[in-house]
Protein backbone atom coordinates (compact mmCIF):
# COMPACT_ATOMS: atom_id res chain seq x y z
CA UNK A 1 0.00 0.00 0.00
CA UNK A 2 1.24 3.46 -0.73
CA UNK A 3 2.72 5.12 2.31
CA UNK A 4 0.63 8.23 1.95
CA UNK A 5 -2.55 6.13 2.35
CA UNK A 6 -1.15 4.45 5.44
CA UNK A 7 -0.46 7.88 6.84
CA UNK A 8 -3.99 9.04 6.06
CA UNK A 9 -5.47 5.94 7.72
CA UNK A 10 -3.38 6.54 10.85
CA UNK A 11 -4.60 10.13 10.77
CA UNK A 12 -8.24 9.06 10.55
CA UNK A 13 -7.83 6.56 13.40
CA UNK A 14 -6.15 9.20 15.54
CA UNK A 15 -8.96 11.65 14.89
CA UNK A 16 -11.59 9.02 15.66
CA UNK A 17 -9.97 8.04 18.96
CA UNK A 18 -9.50 11.68 19.82
CA UNK A 19 -13.20 12.39 19.25
CA UNK A 20 -14.54 9.31 21.04
CA UNK A 21 -12.23 9.41 24.05
CA UNK A 22 -13.91 12.32 25.89
CA UNK A 23 -17.25 10.46 25.87
CA UNK A 24 -15.83 7.38 27.56
CA UNK A 25 -15.60 7.13 31.32
CA UNK A 26 -17.49 6.69 34.57
CA UNK A 27 -20.10 9.27 33.72
CA UNK A 28 -21.87 8.47 30.48
CA UNK A 29 -22.09 11.61 28.45
CA UNK A 30 -24.25 11.94 25.40
CA UNK A 31 -23.70 14.34 22.57
CA UNK A 32 -26.64 16.45 23.78
CA UNK A 33 -25.20 16.86 27.27
CA UNK A 34 -22.12 18.69 26.13
CA UNK A 35 -24.01 21.58 24.58
CA UNK A 36 -25.25 22.69 28.03
CA UNK A 37 -28.76 21.68 26.94
CA UNK A 38 -31.24 21.00 29.71
CA UNK A 39 -30.64 21.21 33.40
CA UNK A 40 -27.73 18.82 33.72
CA UNK A 41 -24.80 21.20 33.34
CA UNK A 42 -22.58 19.00 35.48
CA UNK A 43 -22.13 16.60 32.61
CA UNK A 44 -21.18 19.43 30.32
CA UNK A 45 -18.68 20.63 32.89
CA UNK A 46 -17.19 17.17 33.20
CA UNK A 47 -16.90 17.02 29.45
CA UNK A 48 -15.38 20.42 28.81
CA UNK A 49 -13.36 21.02 31.94
CA UNK A 50 -12.10 17.53 32.75
CA UNK A 51 -12.36 15.14 29.84
CA UNK A 52 -11.34 17.43 26.98
CA UNK A 53 -8.21 18.77 28.68
CA UNK A 54 -7.32 15.26 29.74
CA UNK A 55 -7.66 13.83 26.24
CA UNK A 56 -5.68 16.75 24.82
CA UNK A 57 -3.02 16.12 27.44
CA UNK A 58 -2.89 12.40 26.62
CA UNK A 59 -2.66 13.08 22.91
CA UNK A 60 0.04 15.74 23.19
CA UNK A 61 2.09 13.73 25.68
CA UNK A 62 1.86 10.57 23.63
CA UNK A 63 2.89 12.42 20.49
CA UNK A 64 5.79 14.13 22.27
CA UNK A 65 7.12 10.93 23.81
CA UNK A 66 6.77 8.97 20.57
CA UNK A 67 8.56 11.67 18.56
CA UNK A 68 11.35 11.82 21.11
CA UNK A 69 11.72 8.06 20.97
CA UNK A 70 11.83 8.11 17.19
CA UNK A 71 14.47 10.81 17.20
CA UNK A 72 16.67 8.95 19.69
CA UNK A 73 16.28 5.78 17.65
CA UNK A 74 17.51 7.54 14.53
CA UNK A 75 20.40 9.27 16.29
CA UNK A 76 21.53 6.18 18.21
CA UNK A 77 20.57 3.89 15.31
CA UNK A 78 18.90 1.57 17.77
CA UNK A 79 15.22 0.75 18.34
CA UNK A 80 15.78 0.40 22.07
CA UNK A 81 16.76 4.04 22.48
CA UNK A 82 13.87 5.86 24.13
CA UNK A 83 13.45 8.68 26.65
CA UNK A 84 12.78 6.02 29.29
CA UNK A 85 15.62 3.59 28.58
CA UNK A 86 18.18 6.33 28.09
CA UNK A 87 17.39 7.83 31.48
CA UNK A 88 16.16 11.08 29.92
CA UNK A 89 12.81 10.74 31.67
CA UNK A 90 14.61 10.24 34.98
CA UNK A 91 16.69 13.33 34.30
CA UNK A 92 13.56 15.33 33.63
CA UNK A 93 11.86 13.90 36.70
CA UNK A 94 14.89 14.85 38.76
CA UNK A 95 14.75 18.41 37.44
CA UNK A 96 11.06 18.69 38.21
CA UNK A 97 11.43 17.17 41.69
CA UNK A 98 14.21 19.57 42.60
CA UNK A 99 12.02 22.44 41.51
CA UNK A 100 9.04 21.23 43.57
CA UNK A 101 11.21 20.59 46.62
CA UNK A 102 12.96 23.92 46.40
CA UNK A 103 9.57 25.59 46.79
CA UNK A 104 10.44 28.20 44.22
CA UNK A 105 7.75 29.43 41.94
CA UNK A 106 9.28 31.05 38.94
CA UNK A 107 7.39 31.73 35.80
CA UNK A 108 9.01 33.35 32.82
CA UNK A 109 6.56 34.80 30.32
CA UNK A 110 3.99 32.27 31.50
CA UNK A 111 6.32 29.32 30.97
CA UNK A 112 6.33 27.14 34.04
CA UNK A 113 9.53 26.87 36.03
CA UNK A 114 8.87 23.22 36.70
CA UNK A 115 8.86 22.42 33.00
CA UNK A 116 12.01 24.43 32.38
CA UNK A 117 13.70 22.66 35.23
CA UNK A 118 12.59 19.27 33.86
CA UNK A 119 13.90 20.30 30.45
CA UNK A 120 17.31 21.09 31.93
CA UNK A 121 17.30 17.73 33.72
CA UNK A 122 16.47 15.95 30.48
CA UNK A 123 19.19 17.77 28.59
CA UNK A 124 21.70 16.89 31.29
CA UNK A 125 20.73 13.22 31.12
CA UNK A 126 20.96 12.93 27.34
CA UNK A 127 24.33 14.68 27.32
CA UNK A 128 25.61 12.21 29.91
CA UNK A 129 24.26 9.15 28.11
CA UNK A 130 25.58 10.27 24.77
CA UNK A 131 28.96 11.08 26.24
CA UNK A 132 29.14 7.70 27.96
CA UNK A 133 28.05 5.83 24.84
CA UNK A 134 30.61 7.56 22.67
CA UNK A 135 33.40 7.33 25.24
CA UNK A 136 33.83 3.69 24.35
CA UNK A 137 34.59 3.20 20.70
CA UNK A 138 32.19 0.87 19.00
CA UNK A 139 28.89 2.38 20.05
CA UNK A 140 27.15 -0.89 20.84
CA UNK A 141 23.61 -1.57 22.03
CA UNK A 142 25.00 -2.89 25.28
CA UNK A 143 27.01 0.26 26.00
CA UNK A 144 24.04 2.47 25.22
CA UNK A 145 21.64 0.55 27.44
CA UNK A 146 24.16 0.32 30.26
CA UNK A 147 24.81 4.04 30.05
CA UNK A 148 21.05 4.62 30.10
CA UNK A 149 20.60 2.39 33.13
CA UNK A 150 23.50 4.08 34.91
CA UNK A 151 22.16 7.57 34.27
CA UNK A 152 18.66 6.44 35.19
CA UNK A 153 19.90 5.00 38.51
CA UNK A 154 21.91 8.10 39.19
CA UNK A 155 18.93 10.41 38.86
CA UNK A 156 16.50 8.00 40.51
CA UNK A 157 18.65 7.83 43.62
CA UNK A 158 18.66 11.62 43.78
CA UNK A 159 14.87 11.57 43.51
CA UNK A 160 14.69 8.95 46.27
CA UNK A 161 16.89 11.13 48.41
CA UNK A 162 14.66 14.14 47.87
CA UNK A 163 11.64 12.00 48.60
CA UNK A 164 13.26 10.75 51.80
CA UNK A 165 13.83 14.31 52.92
CA UNK A 166 10.22 15.27 52.26
CA UNK A 167 7.24 14.94 54.60
CA UNK A 168 4.68 12.18 54.18
CA UNK A 169 2.25 14.06 51.96
CA UNK A 170 4.90 15.34 49.59
CA UNK A 171 6.55 11.97 49.51
CA UNK A 172 3.30 10.32 48.42
CA UNK A 173 2.70 12.99 45.82
CA UNK A 174 6.14 12.47 44.35
CA UNK A 175 5.61 8.70 44.30
CA UNK A 176 2.23 9.02 42.61
CA UNK A 177 3.64 11.47 40.09
CA UNK A 178 6.52 9.14 39.30
CA UNK A 179 4.02 6.46 38.27
CA UNK A 180 2.92 8.71 35.46
CA UNK A 181 -0.62 9.96 35.19
CA UNK A 182 -2.83 12.27 33.23
CA UNK A 183 -5.30 13.37 35.89
CA UNK A 184 -5.33 17.03 35.07
CA UNK A 185 -8.06 19.45 35.83
CA UNK A 186 -8.59 22.32 33.47
CA UNK A 187 -6.47 23.53 30.64
CA UNK A 188 -3.52 24.69 32.74
CA UNK A 189 -1.31 21.67 32.13
CA UNK A 190 -2.23 21.53 28.47
CA UNK A 191 -1.24 25.16 27.98
CA UNK A 192 1.99 24.54 29.88
CA UNK A 193 2.91 21.59 27.69
CA UNK A 194 1.80 23.15 24.44
CA UNK A 195 4.75 25.49 23.75
CA UNK A 196 7.28 22.77 24.63
CA UNK A 197 5.52 20.33 22.36
CA UNK A 198 5.06 22.81 19.51
CA UNK A 199 8.68 23.93 19.42
CA UNK A 200 10.08 20.44 19.94
CA UNK A 201 7.94 18.75 17.32
CA UNK A 202 8.41 21.52 14.75
CA UNK A 203 12.17 21.09 15.04
CA UNK A 204 11.95 17.32 14.63
CA UNK A 205 9.57 17.67 11.66
CA UNK A 206 11.98 20.11 10.05
CA UNK A 207 14.92 17.68 10.08
CA UNK A 208 13.45 14.70 8.24
CA UNK A 209 16.25 14.50 5.70
CA UNK A 210 18.91 14.68 8.36
CA UNK A 211 17.15 12.01 10.42
CA UNK A 212 17.14 9.73 7.38
CA UNK A 213 20.84 10.24 6.81
CA UNK A 214 21.67 9.86 10.48
CA UNK A 215 19.79 6.57 10.61
CA UNK A 216 21.95 5.33 7.73
CA UNK A 217 25.11 6.12 9.66
CA UNK A 218 27.12 9.03 10.92
CA UNK A 219 29.96 8.65 8.44
CA UNK A 220 27.59 8.61 5.49
CA UNK A 221 25.65 11.55 6.94
CA UNK A 222 28.86 13.58 7.25
CA UNK A 223 30.04 12.70 3.79
CA UNK A 224 26.68 13.81 2.39
CA UNK A 225 27.13 17.17 4.04
CA UNK A 226 25.21 16.88 7.29
CA UNK A 227 26.70 18.89 10.10
CA UNK A 228 26.28 15.99 12.48
CA UNK A 229 27.39 17.77 15.61
CA UNK A 230 25.00 20.68 15.37
CA UNK A 231 22.10 18.53 14.16
CA UNK A 232 22.55 16.33 17.20
CA UNK A 233 22.71 19.30 19.51
CA UNK A 234 19.53 20.76 18.04
CA UNK A 235 17.67 17.46 18.14
CA UNK A 236 18.76 16.69 21.69
CA UNK A 237 17.50 20.14 22.58
CA UNK A 238 14.16 19.46 20.87
CA UNK A 239 13.65 16.06 22.48
CA UNK A 240 14.61 17.42 25.90
CA UNK A 241 11.98 20.14 25.46
CA UNK A 242 9.30 17.57 24.72
CA UNK A 243 10.33 15.06 27.38
CA UNK A 244 10.80 17.82 29.96
CA UNK A 245 7.39 19.27 29.13
CA UNK A 246 5.63 15.92 29.42
CA UNK A 247 7.45 14.66 32.50
CA UNK A 248 6.92 17.87 34.46
CA UNK A 249 3.17 17.59 33.90
CA UNK A 250 2.48 13.86 33.82
CA UNK A 251 5.51 12.16 35.32
CA UNK A 252 7.72 9.72 33.44
CA UNK A 253 5.32 7.66 31.31
CA UNK A 254 7.44 4.88 29.88
CA UNK A 255 7.55 2.84 26.69
CA UNK A 256 5.31 5.03 24.53
CA UNK A 257 8.50 6.23 22.87
CA UNK A 258 9.50 2.68 22.08
CA UNK A 259 6.30 1.05 20.91
CA UNK A 260 4.84 3.82 18.77
CA UNK A 261 7.86 4.44 16.49
CA UNK A 262 8.46 0.71 16.15
CA UNK A 263 4.88 -0.03 15.10
CA UNK A 264 4.99 2.93 12.71
CA UNK A 265 8.20 1.69 11.12
CA UNK A 266 6.49 -1.65 10.50
CA UNK A 267 3.49 0.14 8.98
CA UNK A 268 5.16 2.84 6.93
CA UNK A 269 8.89 2.20 6.65
CA UNK A 270 11.90 4.19 7.75
CA UNK A 271 11.65 7.30 5.57
CA UNK A 272 11.19 10.07 8.11
CA UNK A 273 9.17 12.18 5.69
CA UNK A 274 6.35 9.71 6.43
CA UNK A 275 7.58 8.21 9.66
CA UNK A 276 7.69 11.46 11.64
CA UNK A 277 4.06 12.54 11.08
CA UNK A 278 2.91 8.92 11.45
CA UNK A 279 4.74 8.57 14.76
CA UNK A 280 3.34 11.86 16.01
CA UNK A 281 -0.24 10.78 15.27
CA UNK A 282 0.22 7.22 16.43
CA UNK A 283 1.87 8.24 19.70
CA UNK A 284 -1.06 10.52 20.46
CA UNK A 285 -3.56 7.84 19.54
CA UNK A 286 -1.73 5.22 21.58
CA UNK A 287 -1.52 7.15 24.82
CA UNK A 288 -5.12 8.35 24.48
CA UNK A 289 -6.21 4.71 24.19
CA UNK A 290 -4.07 3.71 27.18
CA UNK A 291 -5.65 6.53 29.13
CA UNK A 292 -9.14 5.29 28.28
CA UNK A 293 -8.20 1.90 29.72
CA UNK A 294 -6.67 3.51 32.77
CA UNK A 295 -10.02 5.18 33.44
CA UNK A 296 -12.36 2.26 32.85
CA UNK A 297 -10.49 -0.91 33.87
CA UNK A 298 -11.05 -0.61 37.62
CA UNK A 299 -13.60 2.22 37.60
CA UNK A 300 -14.48 4.15 39.67
CA UNK A 301 -10.79 4.01 40.62
CA UNK A 302 -8.07 4.71 38.08
CA UNK A 303 -4.88 2.91 37.20
CA UNK A 304 -2.03 5.36 36.55
CA UNK A 305 -1.52 5.39 32.80
CA UNK A 306 2.23 4.91 33.31
CA UNK A 307 1.48 1.54 34.87
CA UNK A 308 -0.51 0.49 31.82
CA UNK A 309 2.14 1.56 29.32
CA UNK A 310 4.80 -0.17 31.39
CA UNK A 311 2.74 -3.38 31.54
CA UNK A 312 2.46 -3.32 27.76
CA UNK A 313 5.96 -2.01 27.19
CA UNK A 314 7.97 -4.39 29.34
CA UNK A 315 7.16 -7.48 27.28
CA UNK A 316 7.50 -5.45 24.09
CA UNK A 317 10.99 -4.36 25.11
CA UNK A 318 11.98 -7.96 25.83
CA UNK A 319 10.57 -9.07 22.51
CA UNK A 320 12.66 -6.44 20.69
CA UNK A 321 15.73 -7.49 22.63
CA UNK A 322 15.26 -11.22 22.01
CA UNK A 323 14.09 -11.00 18.39
CA UNK A 324 17.40 -9.35 17.65
CA UNK A 325 16.01 -6.38 15.79
CA UNK A 326 17.99 -4.24 18.20
CA UNK A 327 21.13 -5.33 16.38
CA UNK A 328 19.82 -4.54 12.92
CA UNK A 329 20.63 -0.96 12.92
CA UNK A 330 23.35 -0.75 15.52
CA UNK A 331 26.73 0.08 14.17
Amino acid sequence: MKRIYVLIIIGICATAVFCIAPFVGMETISFENILYHGSDTIKADIFWKIRIPRVLMAFLSGAALALSGMTFQALFRNPLATPFTLGVSSGAAFGATIYVKSGLIISLFGISGQSVSAFIGALLAITMVYGLTCARRGFSTATMLLAGVAVSFFFSSFILFIQYMSDFTNSFRILRWLMGGLETVGFGSVLTLLPFMMIGSSIVLFFNRELNLMSVGEDIAKSRGVNVKSIKTILFFATSLMVGGVVSQCGPIGFVGMMSPHICRLLIGYDHHYLTPATLLFGGLFLTLCDIFSRILIAPAEIPVGVITALLGGPFFLWLLISGSSEHSSM
Binding site: V216, K222, G225, N227
Partner: protein
Protein backbone atom coordinates in the same frame (compact mmCIF):
# COMPACT_ATOMS: atom_id res chain seq x y z
CA UNK B 1 59.31 11.28 -3.21
CA UNK B 2 56.50 13.76 -3.13
CA UNK B 3 54.40 14.14 -6.25
CA UNK B 4 53.62 17.37 -7.96
CA UNK B 5 52.88 19.71 -5.06
CA UNK B 6 52.37 22.60 -7.42
CA UNK B 7 48.90 21.48 -8.40
CA UNK B 8 46.12 23.23 -6.64
CA UNK B 9 43.22 20.79 -6.65
CA UNK B 10 43.86 18.72 -3.55
CA UNK B 11 47.05 19.28 -1.63
CA UNK B 12 47.91 17.36 1.51
CA UNK B 13 50.86 19.08 3.08
CA UNK B 14 52.82 17.64 5.99
CA UNK B 15 49.61 16.27 7.48
CA UNK B 16 49.67 14.33 10.74
CA UNK B 17 46.71 12.93 12.59
CA UNK B 18 46.18 11.10 15.86
CA UNK B 19 43.17 9.26 17.25
CA UNK B 20 43.45 9.65 20.99
CA UNK B 21 47.10 9.03 21.77
CA UNK B 22 47.70 6.83 18.80
CA UNK B 23 49.40 8.57 15.93
CA UNK B 24 47.82 7.33 12.71
CA UNK B 25 49.21 9.63 10.05
CA UNK B 26 52.68 11.08 10.15
CA UNK B 27 53.68 14.06 7.98
CA UNK B 28 51.94 12.88 4.85
CA UNK B 29 52.39 15.11 1.81
CA UNK B 30 51.08 14.61 -1.67
CA UNK B 31 48.86 16.30 -4.19
CA UNK B 32 46.14 15.15 -6.53
CA UNK B 33 45.38 16.84 -9.84
CA UNK B 34 41.87 17.31 -11.11
CA UNK B 35 40.85 14.35 -13.26
CA UNK B 36 43.51 12.03 -11.89
CA UNK B 37 42.93 8.45 -10.79
CA UNK B 38 45.07 7.79 -7.74
CA UNK B 39 45.19 4.54 -5.80
CA UNK B 40 46.25 4.41 -2.20
CA UNK B 41 47.81 1.13 -1.12
CA UNK B 42 49.58 -0.16 1.93
CA UNK B 43 49.36 -2.81 4.64
CA UNK B 44 46.41 -3.03 7.03
CA UNK B 45 46.57 -0.34 9.67
CA UNK B 46 48.72 1.97 7.54
CA UNK B 47 46.22 4.83 7.92
CA UNK B 48 44.64 4.73 4.48
CA UNK B 49 41.04 4.82 5.67
CA UNK B 50 41.92 7.46 8.24
CA UNK B 51 43.34 9.66 5.50
CA UNK B 52 40.10 9.38 3.52
CA UNK B 53 38.06 10.15 6.61
CA UNK B 54 40.17 13.24 7.26
CA UNK B 55 39.60 14.39 3.68
CA UNK B 56 35.80 14.26 4.05
CA UNK B 57 36.07 15.56 7.62
CA UNK B 58 34.58 12.55 9.33
CA UNK B 59 37.67 13.10 11.43
CA UNK B 60 38.63 16.66 12.14
CA UNK B 61 41.79 18.19 13.50
CA UNK B 62 45.32 17.04 12.86
CA UNK B 63 48.47 18.99 12.14
CA UNK B 64 49.68 20.29 8.83
CA UNK B 65 47.29 21.35 6.13
CA UNK B 66 44.93 20.00 3.54
CA UNK B 67 43.95 22.39 0.78
CA UNK B 68 41.08 21.80 -1.60
CA UNK B 69 40.65 24.05 -4.63
CA UNK B 70 42.89 26.72 -3.09
CA UNK B 71 41.01 26.79 0.18
CA UNK B 72 41.92 25.10 3.46
CA UNK B 73 39.69 22.11 4.11
CA UNK B 74 38.51 23.34 7.50
CA UNK B 75 37.11 26.53 6.00
CA UNK B 76 34.45 24.62 4.08
CA UNK B 77 31.09 23.96 5.67
CA UNK B 78 30.24 20.26 5.64
CA UNK B 79 27.69 20.92 2.91
CA UNK B 80 30.10 22.85 0.68
CA UNK B 81 32.61 20.07 1.12
CA UNK B 82 30.04 17.43 0.16
CA UNK B 83 29.43 19.25 -3.10
CA UNK B 84 33.11 18.75 -4.00
CA UNK B 85 34.00 15.43 -2.37
CA UNK B 86 31.91 12.32 -2.08
CA UNK B 87 32.83 9.21 -0.19
CA UNK B 88 32.08 5.52 -0.52
CA UNK B 89 32.82 3.83 2.81
CA UNK B 90 34.02 0.31 3.28
CA UNK B 91 30.94 -1.86 3.01
CA UNK B 92 30.05 -3.45 6.31
CA UNK B 93 26.77 -5.19 5.62
CA UNK B 94 24.83 -3.06 8.08
CA UNK B 95 21.07 -3.21 7.91
CA UNK B 96 19.85 -0.17 6.01
CA UNK B 97 16.10 0.22 5.89
CA UNK B 98 15.81 2.14 2.62
CA UNK B 99 15.15 1.36 -1.01
CA UNK B 100 17.91 1.88 -3.56
CA UNK B 101 16.13 4.89 -4.98
CA UNK B 102 15.65 6.51 -1.58
CA UNK B 103 19.27 5.89 -0.71
CA UNK B 104 20.67 7.31 -3.95
CA UNK B 105 18.32 10.26 -3.57
CA UNK B 106 19.96 11.05 -0.24
CA UNK B 107 23.11 11.76 -2.21
CA UNK B 108 21.47 15.00 -3.35
CA UNK B 109 21.41 16.32 0.22
CA UNK B 110 24.20 18.90 -0.18
CA UNK B 111 22.32 20.53 -3.07
CA UNK B 112 19.02 20.93 -1.24
CA UNK B 113 17.98 23.84 0.87
CA UNK B 114 15.93 23.05 3.95
CA UNK B 115 12.79 24.58 2.51
CA UNK B 116 12.70 23.11 -0.98
CA UNK B 117 11.94 19.67 -2.24
CA UNK B 118 13.86 17.82 -4.92
CA UNK B 119 14.10 19.73 -8.17
CA UNK B 120 14.00 18.33 -11.68
CA UNK B 121 17.78 18.59 -11.79
CA UNK B 122 18.09 16.54 -8.62
CA UNK B 123 15.86 13.80 -10.00
CA UNK B 124 17.80 13.79 -13.26
CA UNK B 125 21.10 13.46 -11.37
CA UNK B 126 19.72 10.44 -9.51
CA UNK B 127 18.49 8.90 -12.76
CA UNK B 128 21.85 9.48 -14.43
CA UNK B 129 23.75 7.95 -11.53
CA UNK B 130 21.53 4.87 -11.58
CA UNK B 131 21.95 4.58 -15.35
CA UNK B 132 25.71 5.09 -15.26
CA UNK B 133 26.17 2.36 -12.69
CA UNK B 134 23.61 0.05 -14.26
CA UNK B 135 21.52 -0.10 -11.08
CA UNK B 136 18.30 1.35 -12.52
CA UNK B 137 16.57 -2.03 -12.38
CA UNK B 138 17.27 -2.27 -8.64
CA UNK B 139 15.79 1.10 -7.83
CA UNK B 140 12.69 -0.13 -5.95
CA UNK B 141 14.53 -2.93 -4.13
CA UNK B 142 15.32 -2.72 -0.44
CA UNK B 143 19.04 -2.24 0.20
CA UNK B 144 18.98 -5.12 2.66
CA UNK B 145 17.90 -7.55 -0.06
CA UNK B 146 20.83 -6.79 -2.37
CA UNK B 147 23.93 -8.91 -2.81
CA UNK B 148 27.25 -7.49 -1.64
CA UNK B 149 28.24 -6.53 -5.17
CA UNK B 150 24.93 -4.83 -5.99
CA UNK B 151 25.04 -3.01 -2.71
CA UNK B 152 28.53 -1.70 -3.33
CA UNK B 153 27.49 -0.53 -6.80
CA UNK B 154 24.53 1.31 -5.26
CA UNK B 155 26.85 3.00 -2.77
CA UNK B 156 28.91 4.22 -5.70
CA UNK B 157 25.74 5.37 -7.50
CA UNK B 158 24.78 7.42 -4.44
CA UNK B 159 28.21 9.01 -4.35
CA UNK B 160 28.00 9.83 -8.05
CA UNK B 161 24.51 11.32 -7.61
CA UNK B 162 26.09 13.66 -5.10
CA UNK B 163 27.63 15.39 -8.11
CA UNK B 164 31.05 15.85 -6.55
CA UNK B 165 34.34 16.40 -8.39
CA UNK B 166 36.31 13.95 -6.26
CA UNK B 167 35.27 10.43 -5.40
CA UNK B 168 36.91 8.83 -2.37
CA UNK B 169 36.55 5.07 -2.21
CA UNK B 170 37.49 2.75 0.61
CA UNK B 171 38.26 -0.72 -0.74
CA UNK B 172 35.46 -0.66 -3.30
CA UNK B 173 36.15 -4.15 -4.62
CA UNK B 174 37.06 -6.05 -1.47
CA UNK B 175 34.84 -9.11 -0.86
CA UNK B 176 33.31 -8.96 -4.33
CA UNK B 177 33.07 -11.73 -6.90
CA UNK B 178 35.12 -11.27 -10.11
CA UNK B 179 32.16 -10.02 -12.14
CA UNK B 180 31.18 -7.28 -9.71
CA UNK B 181 34.82 -6.43 -9.18
CA UNK B 182 35.37 -5.80 -12.86
CA UNK B 183 31.99 -4.04 -13.19
CA UNK B 184 32.92 -1.61 -10.46
CA UNK B 185 36.39 -1.02 -11.88
CA UNK B 186 34.90 -0.20 -15.25
CA UNK B 187 32.34 2.16 -13.69
CA UNK B 188 35.17 3.98 -11.92
CA UNK B 189 37.20 4.11 -15.09
CA UNK B 190 34.27 5.56 -17.02
CA UNK B 191 33.45 8.11 -14.36
CA UNK B 192 37.08 9.16 -14.40
CA UNK B 193 37.72 9.23 -18.14
CA UNK B 194 34.34 10.43 -19.45
CA UNK B 195 33.28 12.79 -16.71
CA UNK B 196 36.68 13.91 -15.49
CA UNK B 197 35.88 13.03 -11.90
CA UNK B 198 38.98 12.68 -9.77
CA UNK B 199 39.32 9.35 -8.00
CA UNK B 200 41.22 8.54 -4.86
CA UNK B 201 40.74 4.89 -4.07
CA UNK B 202 42.07 2.82 -1.20
CA UNK B 203 42.70 -0.72 -2.34
CA UNK B 204 44.56 -3.93 -1.60
CA UNK B 205 44.30 -5.02 -5.19
CA UNK B 206 47.70 -3.87 -6.39
CA UNK B 207 47.39 -5.45 -9.83
CA UNK B 208 44.23 -3.56 -10.70
CA UNK B 209 45.57 -0.41 -9.09
CA UNK B 210 48.54 -0.53 -11.44
CA UNK B 211 46.36 -1.31 -14.43
CA UNK B 212 43.83 1.47 -13.89
CA UNK B 213 45.28 4.35 -11.94
CA UNK B 214 47.48 7.18 -13.08
CA UNK B 215 49.48 7.27 -9.90
CA UNK B 216 49.84 5.20 -6.77
CA UNK B 217 50.58 6.33 -3.25
CA UNK B 218 51.97 3.85 -0.74
CA UNK B 219 51.37 4.32 2.97
CA UNK B 220 53.01 2.40 5.79
CA UNK B 221 52.72 3.10 9.51
CA UNK B 222 51.11 6.41 8.70
CA UNK B 223 53.98 7.57 6.53
CA UNK B 224 54.06 8.06 2.81
CA UNK B 225 56.52 5.59 1.38
CA UNK B 226 56.11 6.40 -2.27
CA UNK B 227 53.92 8.33 -4.61
CA UNK B 228 54.32 8.32 -8.35
CA UNK B 229 53.61 6.55 -11.59
CA UNK B 230 51.79 3.28 -11.18
CA UNK B 231 54.15 1.09 -13.18
CA UNK B 232 57.18 2.23 -11.22
CA UNK B 233 56.09 0.52 -8.02
CA UNK B 234 56.29 -2.92 -9.53
CA UNK B 235 59.57 -3.88 -7.91
CA UNK B 236 60.48 -5.44 -4.62
CA UNK B 237 62.37 -2.36 -3.54
CA UNK B 238 59.09 -0.54 -2.95
CA UNK B 239 56.64 -3.37 -2.41
CA UNK B 240 58.79 -5.42 -0.05
CA UNK B 241 59.48 -2.41 2.12
CA UNK B 242 55.73 -1.63 2.18
CA UNK B 243 54.40 -5.10 2.92
CA UNK B 244 57.44 -6.86 4.43
CA UNK B 245 56.92 -9.57 1.87
CA UNK B 246 58.64 -10.52 -1.36
CA UNK B 247 56.65 -10.66 -4.55
CA UNK B 248 57.18 -12.39 -7.89
CA UNK B 249 56.36 -10.53 -11.06
CA UNK B 250 54.81 -11.73 -14.29
CA UNK B 251 53.73 -9.93 -17.44
CA UNK B 252 50.07 -9.27 -18.18
CA UNK B 253 49.27 -11.45 -21.22
CA UNK B 254 47.50 -8.68 -23.13
CA UNK B 255 49.09 -5.34 -22.40
CA UNK B 256 52.41 -6.43 -21.01
CA UNK B 257 52.31 -4.54 -17.70
CA UNK B 258 53.81 -6.25 -14.71
CA UNK B 259 51.62 -8.07 -12.22
CA UNK B 260 52.47 -9.41 -8.81
CA UNK B 261 52.12 -12.78 -7.18
CA UNK B 262 52.81 -12.82 -3.44
CA UNK B 263 55.20 -15.57 -2.47
CA UNK B 264 53.58 -18.08 -0.15
CA UNK B 265 55.70 -20.06 2.23
CA UNK B 266 54.49 -23.65 1.87
CA UNK B 267 57.13 -25.43 3.89
Amino acid sequence: MVGSLSNSFLVIDNFSFALGKEKILNSVSFGVDEGEYVSLIGPNGAGKTTLLKCLIRIYTGGEGSITLVNKPLDQYTQKELARIISYVPQSNGRFLPFTVHEFVMMGRYPHLSPFTSLSKGDRQAVKDALALTGTGHLSERQLSTLSGGERQTVYIAAAIAQGARILLLDEPTTFLDPKHESDILSILKRVNRQYGITILSVTHDINNAVLHSDRIAVLKHGMLLYVGNSNKIMNNEILESAFDKRFSFIKHPVNGTLMIIPEVDTT
